[in-house]
């Protein structure tokens, strides 16, 4: 994936930005969505719908606080259930945002410019949804501060050798760094909105948020230095976060979890589902706000290619899981592998293979990658598949461990579904608020792109 395509002689590279744009036109187009565009019926209807789903989430959490985790389908031996499935799924979705904003920045990929801002927003909102699940899974969320090291009067401290404590540090660091990265990226754009504000309120809000950014040469110099450093720091961070999440499983001795393939295959799966979610969001957004000039066909195709590549890594992970189970000769691992294919949850496993391995093979074809409705459907299928993957990992291993006397069954209750659907509503509602409240595309970076494209400059400064 280099910034320049492999071109035949005489063939022109497709631009990352439709020609004819100036500094002012990109600024106008992106900032007008926030500043001047009236609220349409579509936005209001979408917001109302997602807002009402958030009310369902509040209801489900309130009932949970009153009654305890017994309202969920969890039991002994399946203590994790939906809460952990959803936690891992959401945190994985967040990873594409950091990948786009940090790793593609370090690799000088110009195509990140028009998608990084809302991918980062997606990361933040996904991490917020993810963080909710372990919190409420404790059953007493008001006691969650026990997980942090603080000098308590009881004289007890967290167990730092436990992956669950690593998780607390990894996820809270990830949330904090993502927020700072996002805010630093927003700073020049907030100044643009301040200068173009049409009402007193806009001027005050964006004036306060932009902190008096002036865009002086000294400002930009320190800004670029800090941004590059943050990108360099976020890159290993994003890899570490899903590695630590996979340790929650891999450090345990439960069959099907205790394997060394987990960290890399979890990270690949996270990026896979994250890119699927970026496409799920980008395709309707570019249509609703006429952003086809900025989020071009070439962008969508590039993201489809990343999905295909990470999907193949995930397929390799599934293969290695099976291979290692049989190669090890460990009878519990062999039994678990057979349970995936023939056990009570086998339909979930086959659905997972269909969604995550077979469907993305369509992306080998350029016609499919350039068919927007089909791409949208594939992205939804992959999101579903990645959710199924976590379900298969959590539920099949826990229901079929060493002793038949410890076997069990799991089925989710209406409250499990209400909580999960509720977080989907929360995520979508935040996205709705974000696209109208803040510039969904990085304006200053788009101006830089206009400058580069008009000077035929191949790389990033």
């Amino acid at each position: 994936m280099s910034a320049t395509q492999n071109l035949r002689p005489g063939q022109e590279a497709e631009p990352w930005l439709e020609p004819g744009h100036t500094y002012a036109s990109v600024t106008d187009k992106i900032s007008s969505v926030v500043l001047t565009r009236p609220l349409g019926i579509g936005w209001l209807a979408g917001f109302a719908l997602t807002f009402s789903i958030v009310m369902v989430l509040f209801l489900a959490v309130a009932y949970l606080v009153v009654k305890g985790v017994g309202i969920w389908g969890i039991n002994i031996p399946i203590g994790w259930g939906f809460a952990i499935v959803n936690f891992v799924w959401w945190i994985g979705i967040g990873h594409a945002g950091t990948l786009i904003s940090a790793i593609l920045y370090l690799l000088n990929q110009k195509w990140r410019t028009s998608i990084n801002r809302f991918a980062e927003a997606m990361t933040l909102f996904a991490v917020a949804c993810a963080g909710l699940f372990p919190l409420i899974h404790t059953g007493r969320p008001w006691m969650a501060y026990y997980m942090f090291p603080y000098p308590s009067t009881m004289g007890i401290w967290p167990q730092f050798r436990s992956p669950l404590i690593w998780d607390v540090f990894a996820v809270s660091t990830y949330g904090t760094v993502s927020l700072m990265f996002w805010f630093v990226g927003l700073l020049p754009d907030l100044a643009t909105l301040r200068d173009r504000a049409k009402t007193k309120w806009q001027q005050m809000i964006f004036g306060a948020l932009s902190m008096g950014w002036r865009g002086s040469a000294r400002h930009w110099h320190r800004y670029q230095s800090a941004y590059l450093l943050l990108a360099g720091l976020a890159t290993p961070l994003v890899l570490s976060v899903h590695t630590v999440v996979s340790f929650d499983f891999a450090v345990g001795i439960v069959p099907g979890w205790h394997t060394t393939i987990f960290p890399p295959y979890f990270v690949a799966g996270a990026i896979y589902s994250g890119f699927a979610m970026v496409l799920t969001l980008a395709i309707p957004m570019r249509a609703a706000y006429n952003m086809q000039d900025f989020i071009t066909m070439r962008h969508l195709e590039q993201m489809a290619k990343v999905m295909l590549a990470t999907g193949l890594i995930v397929a390799y992970g599934y293969f290695v899981e099976f291979f290692m189970a049989f190669y090890s000769g460990n009878k519990f691992d062999v039994f678990l592998a057979n349970q995936r294919l023939h056990g009570p949850y086998a339909p979930f496993y086959y659905a997972l293979i269909l969604c995550n391995i077979l469907t993305p093979q369509l992306l080998w074809f350029k016609k499919v990658r350039r068919n927007i409705p089909l791409l949208f459907v594939i992205s939804l299928i992959i999101n579903t598949g990645m959710w199924l993957e976590r379900f298969v990992i959590v539920v099949i291993s826990l229901t079929r461990d060493f002793m038949p006397s410890a076997w069990g069954r799991y089925s989710a209750t209406v409250w499990d579904y209400a909580t999960f659907v509720g977080t989907l509503g929360l995520f979508t509602m935040l996205i709705f608020l974000f696209v109208r409240g803040l510039p969904a595309i990085a304006i200053s970076e788009m101006r830089e792109l206009v400058h580069q494209e008009s000077h035929g400059d191949g790389g990033h400064e």
Partner: protein, 182 residues
Amino acid sequence: MSEKRSQLFGVMGEFSTPEDLVAATKKVRETGYKHVEAYTPFPVEGLSEAVGFKWTAVPLLTLIGGIGGGLTGFGLQYWVAAITYPMNIGGRPLNSWPAFIPVTFELTVLGASIFAVVSMLALNKLPQPYHPVFNVDRFAQASTDKFFLCIEARDPKFNLTEASKLLQSLRAEHVNEVKDEE
């Protein structure tokens, strides 16, 4: 604010392209002005060198933040696990350092990131709601599509007429006085 109470902060020229701005900045510096600042809607290559700004402490402070975060992370875990709350589990070592690496790593990244952001803001003296350059009406374009160069009045060589003439000779499209209200 009455006119009498306002002071002259400098003189500002407006340009349409980053290339004109960089060329003009170099010329102004060659003429001998020291206190010069340029304002652009996106980072322009070579501009900070042109205004005479080469070194920033941001990377060094980030390194310090990272080292501090890492030491804090490991120190905290060592102190908890080996000193204040030791647990003998089958005689395993209390200082089980490989198990402390994930948290040490996360706190290294956290410390470095916080230092990078806070030092960038602090060295840029942000938040700073008021600055004299905002008094120029056309300066609102500095965050859209115009490029500005300000020769500041505190420069020993500063003379309003000469500085304005210099900017005009460098193809500045508008030249404005920048007033500081005090």
